[in-house]
């Protein structure tokens, strides 16, 4: 790949969104339009400045809708099934969370509920809300606050880690029991894949792509 490094800017003259500041070292660049597949990297610290965003707002909304469907399935369908004496025991995410709460590991229950359920759900609902309004060319009510919420919950969604956790648990439990993955784990795998696509999307560009209402400054 041939990363086009943006040229350092000189003096801030034009509109501020023509400039770009590297978040990792504070170097100022003039923003350049990127072609498909391009990644702009900082010439000082090599951090990614910007990626070409090929997923438009409509595609993003479609992606959010897909994630929501998969998310519901991942929570409704059992993740693993344990067979013992002809009895089938199914495990679901909320079963896991409630069991940890009952077993005096409330901290773990809260962590799991947050990182695997509430934060991902909140992220998708907020994005869906913002994008539905963006389709009509306007900012959703509460746009500013919700964008800040998105910024802060972003590092705390861990569904990908959970998929790996299911895999390890199945292997461990199989030493003693007859355990098999159930449909829910495939929904989780799909979710992890969709999240990977999402990680390439810079949500901050919604500030630029969705114009502010005329009464707002």
């Amino acid at each position: 790949m041939n990363p086009p490094t943006s040229h350092p800017g000189h003096v801030p003259s034009a509109s501020s969104s023509a400039l770009l500041i590297c978040e990792h070292c504070d170097t100022v660049y003039r923003r350049r339009s990127l072609a498909r597949g391009d990644v702009a990297r900082c010439a000082r610290c090599d951090a990614v400045l910007e990626r070409h965003q090929r997923i438009g707002l409509n595609a993003m909304l479609a992606l959010v809708a897909t994630v929501m469907v998969v998310f519901v399935l991942a929570n409704v369908w059992p993740i693993m099934t344990l067979g013992l004496n002809g009895e089938q025991i199914h495990t679901r995410l909320w079963g896991v969370i409630l069991m940890m709460w009952r077993q005096h590991a409330q901290v773990v229950a809260v962590l799991a509920a947050g990182t695997l359920f509430f934060f991902p759900l909140c992220k998708m609902l907020v994005l869906g809300w913002l994008l539905v309004h963006a389709q009509q060319g306007r900012r959703a009510p509460g746009f500013k606050q919700l964008m800040i919420v998105l910024h802060y919950i972003h590092p705390w969604t861990m569904s990908e880690v959970f998929v790996l956790g299911v895999l390890v648990s199945i292997v461990k439990a199989q030493l003693y029991f007859d355990v098999s993955p159930d449909t829910g784990v495939f929904a989780y795998a799909a979710l992890a894949g969709l999240i990977t696509i999402f990680s390439g999307i810079d949500l901050r560009r919604l500030w630029d792509t969705i114009p502010a209402a005329e009464n707002a400054s």
Binding site: G9, L19, I21, L111, H151, L164, S169
Partner: protein, 207 residues
Amino acid sequence: MSAMPRAHELGLIGCHVCGLVCRDTQIPDAACPRCGSALHRRKPNSRMRTWALLIAAFILYIPANVMPIMRTASLGDADDNTILSGVIELWVKGSPGLAVIVFTASIVVPMMKFLVLSTLLLAVHCGTNWARIQRARLYRLVEFIGYWSMLDVFVVSLLTALVQFGFFSEVEPLPGVVYFGLTVVLTMLASMSFDPRLIWDCKEEDD
């Protein structure tokens, strides 16, 4: 002016929340005109906060490793597992490949976070120019892989929920897993509160 001007040289501040490039007005409580968050050139008290969180995480990391994280009881026979013994069991009986993954997530990654973040903090403290680009890369690596340490916490939770047959066979979580979960959260907070811009803040002779 240097070839690659930094924000403060041009009197600019990038908003840490929304990324907007703002003029540095020198007013103490300036807010970003776009998102309303407080503007600051560097994350406030970055070094002290990171040290505090890192030390707290390290203190919790000791019981997380010493104390068992899970008990497997079967027909009255109880077997307590620590993080390390869980890895060994997986290596011996199950699959060595997964054992390596769990070992990486539960032991290598947290240890690496402690080492990397304290190295970064010490280097910033000394104001050295040593290996800046490598340090910047290490920081990004730590940020990127940090949350995978939650793996063992999820494994214990899943096994607890899965294996519940009362006297016959049961898995229950032990306090070690709580300490470990808290360690992961604290190390994540520590790496978030470190400001990588500090790596580049010492005087540059060349460039």
